[in-house]
């Protein structure tokens, strides 16, 4: 059995994308590479001797509940790749950078949605990844709750969101050994608080307000592959 045994991974990834005005360049990178994403991740994993049995990707875009109304939070279901590549590509290509209001955005609400995704719990080996891209700090949870479309069942504060993420004694909504949170965000609230207090986090710190201009596609793929 030994030589025929290969690690087969079920991988779920949620892309959490700040889609406000300054994020156009980063969104363009994701758009340009959406069609190849499955192949590129599979190739990187293959180099590590790991086989992807099932890859699912979900997309959440966020802006600001108070400033952007119904465009503040858009979520998809998981796409199965490569089967759903075409519709995934269409979805990614429909994202447009606009809006945002003040400097901070509602990134924590988007992260909360990501954490509560319907993760694949099947398979011997699995990874549950959340990748966040934002060039802005995050509002405190509930900042936008006076907006009509603010979600009813949102974590009420950062402590509750921390419980949703979980730790080794309290599972939260994700599997402790499988979950990873990759942040491409500035060293600003609440991203820095997450970096300092949550397990299973890697934070690539970027300059605020610059649309993550220093981030390139290879860095994104490397970050994902190293986390699986």
């Amino acid at each position: 059995m030994g030589s025929n045994y290969k690690m087969k991974y079920n991988v779920d990834i949620v892309f959490v994308i700040d889609a406000t005005g300054s994020m156009g360049d980063l969104i363009d990178i994701v758009k340009k590479n959406a069609l190849n994403l499955h192949k590129d991740i599979e190739t990187m994993m293959g180099q590590k001797g790991k086989i992807i049995q099932e890859l699912r990707i979900k997309v959440i875009t966020f802006r600001d509940y108070l400033a952007d109304g119904e465009n503040a939070m858009l979520k998809t279901d998981f796409f199965n790749l490569p089967e759903d590549t075409e519709v995934f590509n269409e979805t990614i290509n429909s994202i447009t950078a606009f809006g945002g209001g003040d400097d901070p955005e509602d990134g924590l609400e988007a992260l909360a949605y990501a954490i509560r995704s319907k993760w694949n719990t099947e398979g011997l080996k699995k990874r549950q990844l959340i990748v966040v891209w934002s060039d802005a700090p995050a509002h405190e949870l509930g900042f936008g709750k006076s907006a009509e479309n603010y979600p009813k069942k949102m974590a009420k504060d950062f402590n509750e969101l921390t419980q949703w993420w979980g730790d080794k004694d309290n599972m939260g909504y994700m599997d402790y050994n499988s979950k990873r949170l990759i942040l491409f965000t500035p060293d600003l609230p609440w991203w820095n608080e997450i970096r300092n207090s949550w397990d299973n986090v890697i934070h690539y710190m970027s300059e605020a307000g610059k649309g993550l201009e220093e981030v390139n596609y290879k860095q994104i793929i490397d970050a994902i592959a190293y986390s699986i």
Partner: protein, 323 residues
């Protein structure tokens, strides 16, 4: 650091041979390495180090763009070799603390030397500067029938011994969750402790008195982490040992056998003690190999279910953890 075979002189009486199998998945980019030495004293060591690719993915322009993981494993090997060369292994319970202090100091110096302005800022518990695991076995071999073996480790690289009763894992992986060698093949438990340059870490130790003949083994996870069960790792050690007709050929066979299975770099060192020759060593392990094959390996096929594997592991682990 990698000790070239022809530079090593094994003078210690009672050491039959030392083998070191390794592979770099991508040439020049490997993150695992080994080092060993047996000088004319009674004390020698074998060691492996695994730079942690995920945590240590940052590249350092001042170090020819090498990753933190690659720099770290090689630095740890050099520091261990210096520590041995200065005859600082004392077997009095202080070796882990002293080696730990030495590593901590050296790693901070290396970090200062390779850090540069403008490098990408990274943080979070999945990131460390210069992270590496270590598994070191220091052997005091001053008795004809027995020897003292001190295992020192950090992270999930492992130290074992292999005798007539089979493979025994001595080290305990530093993991955040409670996993055994079987469950960890499935859950990929997160490491709770590695050598690094950002602050505190711990070097664990365990000292055993062992009867000869015996083989002492240190291994990075690339060699044992890609099987469906720990039994298969022992099987590959023994089957390649028996197929070869010299220690040098065992080294080659072992490397050839692990390479297609693993997706990772690996480094594995084995020191053979108390055998009169390689042929004597083969004779000694033949019975164990037959037992392992009959009791476990013949029952592990493509169709073996998880439940059946778990049941076999339940029986195997009694001897695997017999220390």
């Amino acid at each position: 650091m990698k000790n070239e075979k022809n530079e090593i002189k094994i003078k210690t009486k009672g050491v039959t041979a030392v083998i070191c199998a390794e592979r770099e998945k991508l040439d020049g980019l490997g993150e695992d390495c080994y080092s060993y030495s047996f000088d004319s004293t009674d004390v020698g060591y074998i060691a492996v180090f695994d730079g942690c690719g995920g945590m240590g993915a940052r590249k350092y322009p001042k170090a020819n763009n090498k990753t933190g993981a690659r720099i770290a494993s090689r630095a740890a090997a050099c520091i261990t070799d210096e520590f041995y060369g200065e005859k600082l292994f004392r077997f009095d319970g202080s070796d882990c603390r002293n080696l730990q202090s030495r590593m901590k100091e050296a790693f901070q110096r290396i970090k200062s030397a390779v850090d540069s302005d403008g490098a990408a800022m990274m943080g979070g518990d999945l990131f460390k500067s210069l992270p590496t695991t270590a598994a070191i076995a220091v052997i005091k071999n001053n008795d004809n029938s027995r020897m003292v073996c001190e295992y020192l480790w950090a992270g999930d690289s492992r130290g074992y011994f292999l005798d007539a009763d089979g493979l025994c894992q001595v080290t305990k992986d530093d993991l955040k969750t409670d996993e055994d060698a079987f469950s960890n093949l499935r859950s990929d438990g997160r490491m709770s402790n590695v050598i690094h340059a950002d602050g505190d870490f711990r070097i664990n130790s365990e000292t055993l008195i062992l009867d000869k003949p015996i083989i002492i083994i240190t291994s990075t996870d690339g060699a044992f982490d890609y099987f469906s069960s720990p039994m298969e790792f022992e099987h590959i050690l023994l089957s390649t040992l028996l197929e070869a007709d010299s220690a040098e050929k065992w080294e080659i066979r072992l490397s050839e056998a692990i390479s297609p299975v693993t997706g990772d770099d690996f480094a594995i060192c084995a020191a053979l003690f108390g055998f009169t020759s390689y042929g004597d060593c083969k004779k000694y392990y033949k019975e164990r190999f037959e037992y392992l094959t009959k009791k476990y390996m013949n029952r592990i096929t493509e169709d073996t279910t998880e439940k059946e594997l778990l049941s076999l592991w339940g029986s195997y682990k009694l001897s695997y953890y017999r220390r």
